[in-house]
Symmetry: C2
Subunit: 207 residues, 2 copies
């Protein structure tokens, strides 16, 4: 019966390919935003990249800003969890140990969520979504600077560099990973996390 | 006599304002490139920003790419001078001392030439000019990684982190300054240069 049926027109309306879900669309969108810039990327560009119609994408997501928001939340939720754990006053660990551990954990988060952290670090506050993300980043920065100050008061961290400056440099080094780290096996994540922590806390000078 | 002269028409053809020279145009162009992105900035945008006609700008410069090239050279020439001095084999200083000194000098160059270094760090290789700049950056990276390796062989630098990774993290921290440093007096350049060098070589742990 099938072979006898009238064939479909040779050039049917382009349809959403099967197998595309929200996660795939988000991942592709974030890579495209990072490559071309969020503002310069349209939903049409994303549709072309995925080989989908715009209508098919809108079946899964509300629009470009929802994709941005989801990506920024992905990065911020992980970083917030790490920082919240490190700043629990109930912890048995010293501030120094908690600072060292949150630096290491941040490196791991960055490597595991590199695309969304890259996007987060490029946000400049051009919309409500971006402003909200910047506000969450500032909260993280404040918490980390306070943890640095605690570790210095405790006597375990050098106190001759202003805490906010220490925090900037420490997380500046962590964040710089987005510029060159590739999950291609050149460096495994554990090696990089150890290197950052050892360099920052113990220094490069041979002992 | 002057007061009696026939006045000029009230709306003359817009002319180049006096006092604009190539250096002012370059400085404004680099700030605009950093704010909007090089690709998204037109010579018309630059003209509007300067309050000049495009013709007036073309009187001073050949075009957008010449401005990019001049800015990248500004950053690269300074960094190259610092690295070349540090890697002179004739120097009396140890590799460790020369590495420590080139890190400090790089921080100073970055703060003194922040706009052009920012532009350099965002170059992705979209044109001949950008590819040439990336090639010069790679040369700098290679020289610095080799200096790190020398200092480790000398026994004065820890040898348990791969030299290329040390170099990435060290200059990742230096380069991250472009994201937050403001020459507004919050931190004077000497404090920042000392902080980076002390953190990197001596570490944050209190001794």
């Amino acid at each position: 019966m099938t072979s006898a049926a009238v064939p479909e027109p040779a050039t049917p309306r382009r349809r959403g390919r099967p197998g595309y879900d929200q996660a795939t669309i988000l991942r592709t969108a974030v890579d495209l935003f990072n490559r071309r810039g969020y503002d310069a990327t349209s939903m049409g560009d994303l549709a072309r990249e995925l080989g989908l119609t715009k209508a098919a994408i809108y079946h899964h997501v509300d629009g470009k800003e929802q994709l941005l928001s989801a990506a920024l939340d992905d990065a911020l939720d992980e970083l917030t969890a790490a920082v919240t754990e490190a700043t629990q006053p109930t912890s048995d660990l010293s501030a120094y140990e908690r600072l060292r551990s949150v630096v290491r954990r941040s490196v791991e988060v960055l490597m595991a969520h590199q695309s969304s952290v890259t996007l987060l670090l490029r946000v400049r506050g051009n919309s409500e979504v971006e402003l909200a993300a910047l506000q969450r980043r500032r909260w993280l920065d404040d918490q980390l600077a306070e943890l640095v100050a605690q570790a210095a008061r405790e006597g375990s961290l050098r106190a001759d560099i202003p805490p906010r400056l220490v925090s900037r440099l420490l997380f500046g080094m962590v964040n710089s990973l987005v510029e060159w780290y590739h999950a291609d096996g050149t460096y495994d994540p554990g090696t990089v996390a150890d290197a950052v922590t050892d360099l920052a806390f113990d220094g490069l000078r041979a002992r």
